[in-house]
C-alpha cells in the first residue's frame, strides 16, 4: 500500500502501473479539482490556500508559489497561460522525471487547479527533449486518460470551467530551464532569456500574462487543497512547508529520489540513502544542484534540510539535488567539470557569462594540466565575481557560485595541485590523511 505522507509520490507504493488514473483516484486524486469544479473554492480562495500552505517553488529559487500566482491579473479578460517547467536539467536533479513517470496525474491535476486559479484556460508542460522516450509518452497517456474521464477540456463536467493542457517537447538546452528562455523556446526560438521587467505575469508567452512553475511545485497543489494548507505546514518546518523530493546521488550506498519532510536532518537523509558508499568519509555536499555553493562536510553534517537552515549554513536548498562526495573526490576535477557545463550551456547573450565561463574552464584546465599558477586562483575568483550579478539571467550566478565556494573551502586542493605539477591531493602518497 502507498505510504500516506507522500505528496508527489503518493502512488509510488502501487506495484502495478503507479501512474494509472485508477491508482491516482484511489489515493484521493482529482478530489481537489472536483471541489473546485463544484464551486466550493473560487480563484481567490485557491490562491489563499496555496499561500497559507507556505509552498515554495521547487525549481531552484524557492519563491512562494501562492504569491507568484497572485501576481497574475486573474480576472482580466485577456488570454493567460500557465506553463509547467519540466525541463529538469540542473545537474544532480532527477525528481521531475520521476513525477512524470510515476505520478503524472498529480501534475495534471495541479496544473488544472493552478491554471483555473490564475484565470488561464490553456497550459503547456515544457518537457525536456531527452525525456522523449519514456516520460513524454507517460505524461501524454495520462493527459489522454484525464480528457477521456472528463477532467479537462471545455465546460468541464458542466462547471463552465475550461482548461486545456498541452505537452511541449524541448530539444536539449539547459538554458531553456530558465523561465524566460523557456518561453522563447516555446515560441519556437533559441532559448535566450529575456530582460525582466516586464515579468512573465505581465508579458509572458506570446505577450500574454503567464506563470511558470516547476513540476514538483504544481504536483504538490492537489494535496494542499485536499488536505488543507495547515496539513502541509505541519509536515515541514517553519519557512519550509511540506515534503520535498531529494535526489540523492554520488557516493552513497543507495542513491535515489526520496520524498521526505523538509527540515529533515542531513544525517537522517544520509542514513536513508544507505550511508556513505563503502563506509568512506564524507568530504563535501552540493545540497541543491550544481549551481549552489558546495558545503564541506563539517558545515552540513549537523544541518537540517530546509531553505533557511541551508542558507544559514552558506548554501541553498536549490532543487533539492543532494550530491554527496567522499574523501576520494578531487575537488579541482569536480569544479572543472561544473565549469565546463556552464561554459557549454551559456547562451552567449551576455559578455560576462559568454567570455567568463570560458575563462573559468580554461584556467581550471591548466591547473589540472600542471601549468597553473597561484595567481590563477585569484583570477578564478575575480572572473567569477565579475560574472555574478552582471547577466540577464541567473546562469551567470550559477557559474560563479561553485567557483567561489570551491575556492573558499577547498583552496588547499587547488594549491596542492599547482605545487605538484597537476597531481591531485587525493592521489598523494599520504592521501588518506589529507
Amino acid at each position: 500500500m502507498p505510504e500516506h505522507d507522500l505528496v508527489c509520490f503518493a502512488t509510488r507504493g502501487f506495484d502495478s502501473e503507479p501512474w494509472s488514473l485508477d491508482n491516482y483516484l484511489s489515493v484521493g486524486g482529482y478530489r481537489a479539482w472536483q471541489r473546485v469544479l463544484d464551486g466550493e473554492l473560487d480563484r481567490a480562495a485557491i490562491i489563499e490556500q496555496v499561500k497559507a500552505s507556505g509552498l515554495r517553488g521547487r525549481g531552484g529559487a524557492g519563491f512562494p508559489t501562492g504569491l507568484k500566482h497572485s501576481f497574475m491579473p486573474r480576472e482580466a479578460p485577456m488570454q493567460k497561460y500557465l506553463v509547467c517547467n519540466s525541463d529538469e536539467s540542473e545537474p544532480g536533479t532527477c525528481h521531475d522525471r520521476e513525477i512524470l513517470r510515476l505520478n503524472p496525474h498529480s501534475l495534471i491535476e495541479g496544473m488544472a487547479i493552478s491554471a483555473y486559479a490564475m484565470g488561464a484556460t490553456v497550459a503547456y508542460n515544457y518537457i525536456r527533449g531527452e525525456f522523449i522516450d519514456e516520460p513524454v509518452p507517460r505524461f501524454e497517456a495520462a493527459l489522454q486518460e484525464a480528457y477521456d474521464a472528463g477532467w479537462l477540456g471545455k465546460d468541464i463536467r458542466g462547471s463552465g470551467i475550461d482548461v486545456d493542457i498541452h505537452t511541449f517537447v524541448g530539444a536539449g538546452a539547459y538554458i531553456c530551464g530558465e523561465e524566460t528562455g523557456l518561453l522563447e523556446s516555446l515560441e519556437g526560438k533559441p532559448g535566450k532569456p529575456r530582460f525582466k521587467p516586464p515579468f512573465p505575469a505581465q508579458h509572458g508567452l506570446y505577450g500574454a500574462p503567464t506563470t511558470i512553475n516547476n513540476t514538483q511545485s504544481l504536483a504538490s497543489i492537489p494535496t494542499i487543497i485536499l488536505k488543507g494548507p495547515q496539513w502541509f505546514v505541519d509536515v515541514g518546518v517553519e519557512g519550509s512547508s511540506g515534503t520535498a523530493i531529494f535526489s540523492i546521488s554520488g557516493h552513497v550506498e543507495r542513491p535515489g529520489n526520496y520524498e521526505l519532510p523538509l527540515g529533515i536532518p542531513f544525517r537522517k537523509l544520509l542514513e536513508i540513502a544507505g550511508g556513505m558508499l563503502g563506509g568512506r568519509e564524507l568530504k563535501a555536499v552540493i545540497p541543491g544542484g550544481s549551481s549552489v555553493p558546495v558545503m564541506p562536510a563539517g558545515n552540513i553534517i549537523d544541518a537540517t534540510m530546509d531553505f533557511d537552515a541551508i542558507k544559514a549554513a552558506g548554501s541553498s536548498l536549490g532543487t533539492g539535488a543532494v550530491v554527496v562526495m567522499d574523501e576520494t573526490t578531487c575537488m579541482v576535477g569536480m569544479l572543472r567539470r561544473i565549469s565546463r557545463f556552464y561554459y557549454a550551456e551559456s547562451c552567449g547573450q551576455c559578455t560576462p557569462c559568454r567570455e567568463g565561463t570560458g575563462w573559468l574552464y580554461r584556467v581550471l584546465t591548466r591547473v589540472m594540466e600542471g601549468t597553473g599558477t597561484h595567481a590563477d586562483l585569484d583570477m578564478l575568483v575575480d572572473v567569477a565575481n565579475k560574472i555574478e550579478g552582471h547577466t540577464i539571467c541567473a546562469l551567470g550566478d550559477a557559474a560563479a557560485w561553485p567557483v567561489q565556494s570551491f575556492l573558499k573551502h577547498f583552496r588547499h586542493e587547488f594549491e596542492y595541485m599547482i605545487d605538484h605539477g597537476g597531481r591531485s591531493i587525493v592521489a598523494a602518497p599520504d592521501a588518506a590523511a589529507a
Binding site: 522525471r97 519514456e134 515560441e187 554520488g250 576535477g333
Partner: protein
C-alpha cells in the same frame, strides 16, 4: 493550414506530425512547432538534418530559413552533419562522474575505436559529446542510446546494449 501547398521534401507522415503540433498553439503561432518539426524530420532522415530539410520546414511553417538554422544549431539534440545510425550519449556530469562515467566513456571509445564526437566508419554508431546532465543522476552512471535511458551502467551492461543494436 489546409490551404497550404504541399511541400515535396517533407513526407506525408512528417506533415501530419507537424500539423498535430501546430494544432496545440494559437492561430498564427505555428512557429512554436519548429522543434517538433525538426525532431520529426531528423528522425525520418536517420538522425540528422540537411539544409534542404531545414528549408522545407521553414517553408512549411512560413518562417525564414535562417531562423530554422538558428534553432537547429542552438539545440543540442539536432545534428546538422551526417552521423551514425545509433546515437550514444554518455552523461559525464557531476553525479555520473562521481560514479565512474569517465570509465564508461573510455570503454565505449575503445570498443568502437572512435573518440567522443565521432561516428564509426561503418555508419552504425555515433558517440555524441553530451554536456548536459540527463536527469537520471540517481542511476549513475547512465547513458542514452537512441533516446532510451540505461542506468547503473557497468562496462558489461554497456556491451549488452550495444550488442543488441543492428
Amino acid at each position: 493550414m489546409s490551404a497550404r501547398a504541399f511541400t515535396p521534401e517533407l513526407s506525408a507522415q512528417v506533415c501530419a506530425e507537424i500539423d498535430r503540433w501546430v494544432g496545440k498553439f494559437p492561430a498564427g503561432r505555428q512557429r512554436s512547432a519548429v522543434l517538433a518539426a525538426l525532431h520529426a524530420v531528423q528522425h525520418e532522415n536517420g538522425g540528422y538534418l540537411t539544409p534542404e530539410l531545414m528549408n522545407a520546414v521553414a517553408d512549411y511553417l512560413e518562417m525564414p530559413p535562417i531562423q530554422v538554422y538558428e534553432i537547429a544549431t542552438f539545440y543540442s539534440m539536432f545534428e546538422t552533419k551526417p552521423v551514425g545510425r545509433h546515437s550514444i550519449s554518455v552523461c559525464t556530469n557531476i553525479s555520473c562522474m562521481l560514479r565512474g562515467a569517465d570509465d564508461i566513456v573510455a570503454h565505449i571509445e575503445n570498443r568502437l575505436g572512435i573518440r567522443t564526437g565521432e561516428s564509426t566508419p561503418d555508419g552504425r554508431f555515433y558517440l555524441k559529446q553530451e554536456e548536459e546532465c540527463l536527469a537520471a543522476c540517481c542511476g549513475a552512471p547512465m547513458m542514452m542510446v537512441d533516446h532510451r535511458y540505461y542506468e547503473n551502467l557497468t562496462p558489461a551492461a554497456v556491451d549488452e546494449v550495444l550488442d543488441g543494436l543492428d
